[in-house]
Amino acid sequence: MEFQSVSFNSDEASNCVKECIESIIGGLDYNQNKVNQWTASIVEHSLTQLVKQGKPYKYIVNSAIMQKSGAGLHTANSCYWDTTTDGSCTVRWENRTMYCVVSVFAVAVGL
């Protein structure tokens, strides 16, 4: 049997996440009462779509929603993994009242 090595397709994951964000908060204004369920929905929905692709990966999906009020926000991440098989992508989205940053980390499952 031929051994197929996998590598993370970050464009595909990026598009998947963008659609999830749009479907959940596209066109809405920042709302303190709802932001809790928005972030939870975004990560759960994105994770479900990624897992559906059926690839041999463990996933971590992280999302942050920040109200636009002039504050500065900076994010960084560092990973210790197998660079040939593992990967990540980050999607930055905004509308008039808020920023949304979603990161996906995919770690290959040992065969």
Binding site: I42, E44, K58, S63, I65, S69, A71, N77, D86, V107
Partner: protein, 104 residues
């Protein structure tokens, strides 16, 4: 052994204190601060020599009354993998560091 990850919260706290403890939010420096925090943290974790892959994320936000909400969802092996999140603040900024450990 995921119970070992409880020690990682200590590592994250120490890394944040070392990088930005006592500093005031400065737009021109926040880039290198967040990089220092994650690199420092990752360095300490890998030194522990455990059979894990690690992901460390850091958010630094200026305090000016804006709301910030974060969430994470993970698809992994519940018996071996785990995470911890540290929330740190001083007078001018918040810092949130998350460590994810995935068993090899």
């Amino acid at each position: 052994d995921i119970s070992a990850l409880s020690g990682d919260a200590g590592v994250a706290n120490i890394s944040v204190d070392a990088a930005i403890g006592g500093s005031t939010y400065q737009h021109s420096r926040v880039n290198q601060w967040s990089s220092s925090v994650v690199e420092n943290c990752l360095g300490q974790l890998t030194k522990l020599g455990k059979p894990f892959k690690y992901i460390v994320t850091c958010i630094i936000m200026q305090k000016n009354g804006a709301g910030l909400q974060t969430a994470t969802s993970c698809f992994w092996d519940n018996t071996t993998d785990g995470s911890c999140t540290v929330r740190w603040e001083n007078k001018s900024m918040y810092c949130i560091v998350s460590v994810f450990g995935l068993a090899i």
